[in-house]
């Protein structure tokens, strides 16, 4: 199993670097989709099945489509990147972001129960599925967070409608009674 972890982690890093190294934006979006799939497979290997499949459904099924629409709307044919200075700035920003994530992850996950060598480890007692654990914790203890997430979804929905819909244009729907009452000479 160690081999599979290493394989999928390295292919994830490789695909993430391909996302910005490839010239064609559509190809970079395809690499991004493959990177999402690899991340979902790593989650499956970590035995969080529901989260892995939810990642696949949300990121590959929906977010990647949004990325594809973005790429198609931007109307870039092929962008040749020739400024060395912006490479420097972006790599600096990326390094800062990497450092932040690294420190945060090592602060949060300083103790792995899996690494515990004692015989009565965490996983021998654990017979609940990922989905059951998540449901019982989320809907019994974190009800307020769940309701706030519903409100966030509502705000996202209304915001996207307000931003994109053209309210001024009249809808060209037929009034069916007027249509039926028309007299043809």
């Amino acid at each position: 199993m160690e081999f599979l972890y290493f394989y999928f982690s390295f292919s994830l890093i490789f695909l993430c670097s391909l996302v910005f190294l490839v010239d064609n934006p559509v190809h970079s979006v395809l690499c991004l989709i493959l990177a999402f799939l690899n991340a979902a497979i790593i989650l499956l290997l970590l035995e969080v099945d529901f989260l892995g499949i939810a990642f696949m459904v949300i990121y590959v099924g929906a977010i990647a489509i949004l990325f594809l629409f973005c790429v198609m709307m931007l109307n870039i044919k092929r962008y040749i990147f020739d400024e060395k200075g912006s490479y420097l700035i972006s790599s600096l920003l990326g390094f800062i972001f990497f450092l932040e994530t690294f420190i945060a992850v090592f602060k949060v996950f300083s103790y792995f129960p899996e690494d515990d060598d004692s015989e009565f480890s965490f996983f021998t007692f654990d017979s609940l599925d990922d989905i059951n654990t998540m449901g019982q914790i989320l809907y019994n203890y974190y009800v307020s967070c769940f309701l706030i997430s519903g409100l966030v979804l509502l705000v996202a929905m209304i915001g996207s409608i307000v931003l994109t819909l053209n309210f001024t244009s009249r809808r060209k729907s037929e009034l069916i009674y007027r249509q039926l009452a028309r007299f043809v000479k």
Binding site: M1, G135, N140, L147, S149, I161, F167, R171
Partner: protein, 122 residues
């Protein structure tokens, strides 16, 4: 699931390997066996007999994007439903009615989208 002795994802792994093999087989066989005789007429872009006078990638309506975004919202709602259904018998009444409230919140959004005409394609 990999760490336990019942290896449930082995079937998925077998499917994955078989699909990769079949895809590689189809591509390599069509490259190897197929009689490739390319010429200029075959390789040029075909658009009803005349030369294409427009780029294939052009602007399109932002409403496609709106439909995709509404899809994401309802997709996430469906994802929230699954753990609720799976652990239904272990939930407190608060947990049960929180999902009812969540559905009502999204119903408000749905009614708004319907009334405004975001789902209509004029």
């Amino acid at each position: 699931m990999f760490l336990t002795d019942s290896n449930e994802f082995l079937k998925v792994g077998i499917f994955f390997i078989v699909t990769v093999i079949i895809a590689l087989l189809i591509i390599s066989l069509s490259l190897r066996v197929g009689a490739g005789t390319p010429d200029t007429e075959k390789l040029s872009a075909y658009e009803c007999g005349f030369d294409p006078y427009e780029d294939a990638r052009n602007h399109f309506d932002v409403r496609f994007y709106l439909v995709a975004m509404l899809f994401i919202v309802f997709d996430l709602e469906a994802i929230f439903f699954f753990p609720w259904c799976a652990s239904f018998s272990y939930l407190s009444p608060e947990g049960f009615f929180s999902m009812i409230d969540f559905t009502i919140e999204l119903l408000i959004g749905y009614i708004y989208a319907w009334m405004v005409g975001a789902l209509e394609w004029s």
